[in-house]
């Protein structure tokens, strides 16, 4: 479990990064207006972590403490939440909710998607402006390479796992099969014990 204060620090840093990103994208308060007052709850199941996004007038706030009622609650793994976040920012893309459990108003997510799509979220431009062309070019290249590498590794691992399961399916013993075999062996053992006792009884009665 992540200590609370460390988590607060991470959340504060993430919040500042989002604010800096929005500032770099030159987002005006009018663009955020449709989302003002809305609260989204993200339940990251694989990290056992709840994060609230509270939409303010000039920026969005993150919180890890309960924010009472949320307009919409998304529950899923970090990967599925990231995929949904990406679909929110892609132009003309449908909302992808694969592997997510959604409670509350999907309308809030649609408003969020419209808000994002109305923005010019070019992070590479923002990084170039902040760092200058040379360092930004290196950083962008590194990040792109890392992302490609990660995606390739993920796909490769998935493929290998599937192949392994397919080829080894016949030799793999499932928990149910193991349980059934164990109970059959136990039953046979009992029969042997009973037969053994009967033989001894017969031997005794017939000298």
């Amino acid at each position: 479990m992540i200590p609370r204060l460390m988590l607060a620090g991470l959340v504060a840093a993430s919040e500042q990064a989002i604010t800096a990103g929005m500032r770099a994208a030159d987002i005006q308060p009018e663009q955020l207006a449709p989302m003002v007052g809305k609260v989204l709850k993200l339940r990251i199941t694989d990290l056992d972590l709840d994060v609230w996004i509270v939409c303010g007038e000039s920026q969005w706030w993150l919180a890890t403490e309960s924010q009472e009622a949320a307009d919409v609650e998304l529950s899923g793994t970090l990967g599925s939440l990231v995929e949904t976040a990406r679909s929110l920012t892609q132009p003309n893309a449908p909302l992808i909710f694969e592997g997510l459990d959604i409670r509350g108003s999907v309308g809030v997510l649609q408003t969020m998607q419209k808000t994002f799509q109305a923005m010019d979220l070019d992070w590479e431009d923002a990084v170039t402006q902040a760092l200058g062309p040379m360092p930004a070019g290196l950083l962008i290249k590194t990040l792109r390479a890392a992302r490609t590498q990660w995606l390739t590794s993920r796909a490769s691992l998935k493929r290998q796992t599937e192949e392994f399961l397919r080829t080894e399916q016949k030799t793999l013993v499932t928990d149910t099969v193991f349980g059934e075999s164990e109970s059959r062996v136990t039953a046979l053992n009992r029969q042997i014990d009973r037969l053994d006792a009967r033989i001894k009884r017969l031997e005794a009665s017939h000298g």
Partner: protein
């Protein structure tokens, strides 16, 4: 015989404590934020952040921040309350309020903020005026804490929440020992070096020890009328965050 109360480890007449506390904060006002950063190694910012998160501030809320001092908690809440919201920075000490107001001006944050020099024991606001009432690192300096808690409850709207962020009692004995050495040896020395005021920081350390522990304060809040009272320890109980709801 005159009724007395504690001022750090000393016993002083009740009507003298307010004056003495004011003197302490007059003395430390200008370097208060710097000293907070040095004394807590910046942790007070995270404590305050966690505290603000815990009371779910929404756009348009009316908030009263007692013992507001230099106003860092109030400014953070004001940003979340937005242009429709309003935060009152209240403090008994005019020097602290002045420093707080200067900080707001320096940060260009004046919209939705107002200042009030008042005593937390007798708030100059009608019943049910605020959605949130907070007091950060201030309750231990209040002479009559029960009266202040009743006033916090009175000015809250039904459903409103109160937050008390305050130094408290560490939950483990080894941490308590380290904390004692730090409070009574390092803290006053640091106060002398940075703020040229050893006595004020000696008082701050003593006042923390005289402050009610987590359970006692929670019970005091219940006695004042708060419901769903709960507390969370931060940094092993060095700081505790109490919240209560007015039904």
């Amino acid at each position: 015989m005159k009724e007395t109360t504690h001022f750090g480890f000393k016993e002083v007449p009740v009507d003298e404590k307010t004056y003495r506390v004011r003197e302490v904060f007059n003395s430390v006002a200008k370097r208060y934020d710097l000293m907070n950063d040095l004394m807590s190694a910046g942790l007070h910012r995270l404590w305050k952040r966690v505290a603000i998160e815990s009371i779910a501030i929404r756009s348009g809320m009316q908030i009263l921040d007692l013992a507001s001092g230099t106003g860092d908690l109030a400014r953070a809440m004001s940003r979340r309350a937005g242009s429709e919201g309003h935060v009152v920075l209240a403090d008994i000490n005019d020097q602290m309020l002045r420093v707080g107001r200067d900080r707001c001006i320096d940060h260009g944050e004046l919209k939705g903020l107002s200042w009030c020099q008042c005593d937390a024991e007798t708030l100059p606001y009608p019943d049910q005026s605020f959605d949130r009432v907070t007091i950060g690192f201030g309750l231990r300096n209040v002479t009559n804490k029960d009266a202040a808690l009743h006033e916090m409850h009175r000015v809250l709207k039904p459903g409103g929440r109160a937050l008390i962020l305050e130094f408290s009692t560490p939950v483990s004995a080894p941490l308590q020992q380290i904390y004692d050495v730090y409070s009574f040896s390092v803290l006053p020395t640091m106060g002398q070096l940075v703020a040229q005021d050893k006595e004020s920081y000696q008082y701050l350390a003593e006042s923390i020890r005289k402050h009610p522990n987590q359970e006692t304060l929670a019970e005091m809040m219940r006695q004042a009328g708060f419901e769903t009272v709960s507390y969370q320890n931060l940094t092993g109980g060095i700081v505790a965050m109490h919240t209560g709801v007015k039904s």
